[in-house]
Amino acid sequence: MLQADGLGKRFGRSWLFRNLSFGVEAGEVLVVRGRNGSGKSTLVRILGGLMQPGEGAVKLDVGDRRRGLSLCLLEQSFYAYLTVAEHMTLAADLRACEPRTKELLTKVGLADAAAKTAAQLSSGMKARLRLALAIQPDPRLLMLDEPGAALDEEGKQLVQDICREQATRGAVILATNEPEEGRLGQRVLQLG
Amino acid sequence: MKRFSLVLLLLLGIIGTAYSFLVSDAAGFQAPGLARIFLWHWPCTIAYSVMLFFGAYLCIQSLRTRQAHWDLRTTAALELGAVFGIMVLATGILFSEVEWGAFWSWDPRQTSFLMVMLIYMAYFVLRLAIPDPQVRAASSAVYFLLSVIPQLFLIFVFPRLPQIAQQSLHPSQTIVMGLLSNDYKTAACLTLTLLLWLTGLLYRQRVRASMLNLSLEDLP
């Protein structure tokens, strides 16, 4: 589903990581661990196609990338003037999939916040919206970057449920230092 | 081989420069003796045009492959293009002073070429403002490709528009209509060959220096 060959990224003169090669198959949960600054978020962004690697290549076999690949990034901003429901509709229109707004917002616990603008959301609510948007297209490959960082215990349990569900129909790459989330993975990629 | 070609270049330089000073004065100019500025002005325009099209090709390669060395080559080509562009303006300004009585007369040809130089300035300002090398390479290549249409318009189309051409003092049909004398043609060919050879040499040296710099960055 994903094959990374010889990946490397540097900022300035120093390499964050180099010669990283690994693959992810369907049904797998790959946990990416590393200390702060080891490049977990950068790796997720490279694998998700949001950043060019300094060297190496990533091959994806997920069909249409808009729907086949979905990311839940730690530092993901939203449009301050759009409501939660409008974000779901915009994402669905751009990805050519069903919005499933009511179903997904209920699942992530944001059903009452559908009419709130992103500017009015707390950091925990934003984290839940990120999850809802990530699972909206039923992606084949789901990448999560520290999804439980701003979530309460209920939210962290939600992340684990999503990862287990996703593993039954695709694959997950989970960048995390949370021990509970780390136990979801069959393999661990250690950075740094 | 390298030393031989350098010696040959030096010889050509001496001969070309001497010939350009020794050709007989041109007819039909305010200061016939100083019309020989053309013998350096015209080759600079050719060298600039070569670098314009070569630079555009390198930009496409840079965007296609996303490899750092193509960006280095692009920068080298466009730096040379800018240098020759400035020389075109400088020799043109000198010609304007001796033939038309003013360093700058807002002649359409002069003005349109100044606008082209502003585009080059904007290109280098854009490169300076972007810290990430990959973003810088892509953004500057796209900007230059975007600027090719205005450049071609300003250099080749705008000065030849009938309502513009009739206002311009700049000679435009001299070469096309075969109005150059034989010794001027010879001198022009010599200086053109010299400048194009020099362009190639400078380009290669610049690329070599940039590649060395790049490989230094890779050292632990």
Partner: protein, 230 residues
């Protein structure tokens, strides 16, 4: 055949989604319209004040109006691209969409915004400077095709500076040299509209501006795609 038709339906839906998002943002914040409107009004009032009640010649009027349009475009249009990078929402578009529909959605919105501002500016200019255009249709068509060209060029410049230092000023600085050939066409068309040249020539130059706009819009998506995911 069915695949091609569903692909183009999907692209159209994406373009409309981006256009709608931009329009919603503008409707709820109104910063673009207000900034451009205020700038336009100040520019026109300044010109009328500086003219000291004298009647401006057609060529001068055309030049001043074009400068006002160019600066209005440079101030407001890059925002469409710059804001996405500044607020961090560019990644959403990169994840959810493709470069061509995003380019078309944003450029169409900018073109609509700039055309509205440009026509308003042209009308205000004529009123404040007490001009009588020789041909209103020519003036308005020249303004519209000029504004669409400005939108195409300046939007793309906004993309190029989105990850640079001193972005807003830089977008205007790098766009200006690209717009100089357009300025020669625009001023030529407008001076004819103000009575300082043949009307036929004015229409020819307006056609040339439309050609410039078409060329920019044709190559724009491909250039945008080249910087889409750097």
């Amino acid at each position: 055949m069915a695949n091609a038709s569903s692909n183009s339906d999907s692209s159209l839906k994406e373009i409309l989604a981006v256009f709608r998002k931009e329009a919603l943002g503008e409707a709820r914040s109104q910063t673009g319209l207000m900034t451009a409107g205020l700038f336009g009004l100040v520019a026109v009032v300044s010109i009328a004040f500086a003219a000291y009640g004298m009647k401006l010649a057609g060529t001068l009027s055309a030049g001043l109006l074009w400068v006002a349009l160019m600066f209005s475009a440079s101030l407001t249009l890059p925002r469409a691209m710059l804001q996405e990078e500044e607020t961090g929402t560019a990644d959403l578009l990169r994840q959810w969409s493709r470069p061509h529909p995003v380019y078309w959605g944003k450029t169409l919105f900018n073109a609509a915004l700039m055309t509205f501002e440009g026509v308003l500016l042209a009308i205000l200019f004529v009123v404040f400077t007490e001009q009588t255009p020789a041909s209103w249709p020519l003036l308005l068509c020249a303004t519209v095709s000029g504004c669409i060209s400005l939108a195409g060029a300046v939007t793309l410049c906004g993309v190029l500076v989105a990850r640079a230092a001193n972005r807003s000023a830089l977008a205007a600085a790098i766009a200006a040299p690209l717009l100089l050939p357009l300025a020669s066409l625009g001023v030529g068309a407008m001076r004819s509209a103000f009575g300082d040249g043949a009307i036929v020539q004015g229409w020819q130059l307006t056609g040339a501006m439309a050609g410039y706009a078409t060329t920019l819009l044709a190559i724009g998506p491909y250039l945008y795609a080249a910087v889409w995911k750097t």
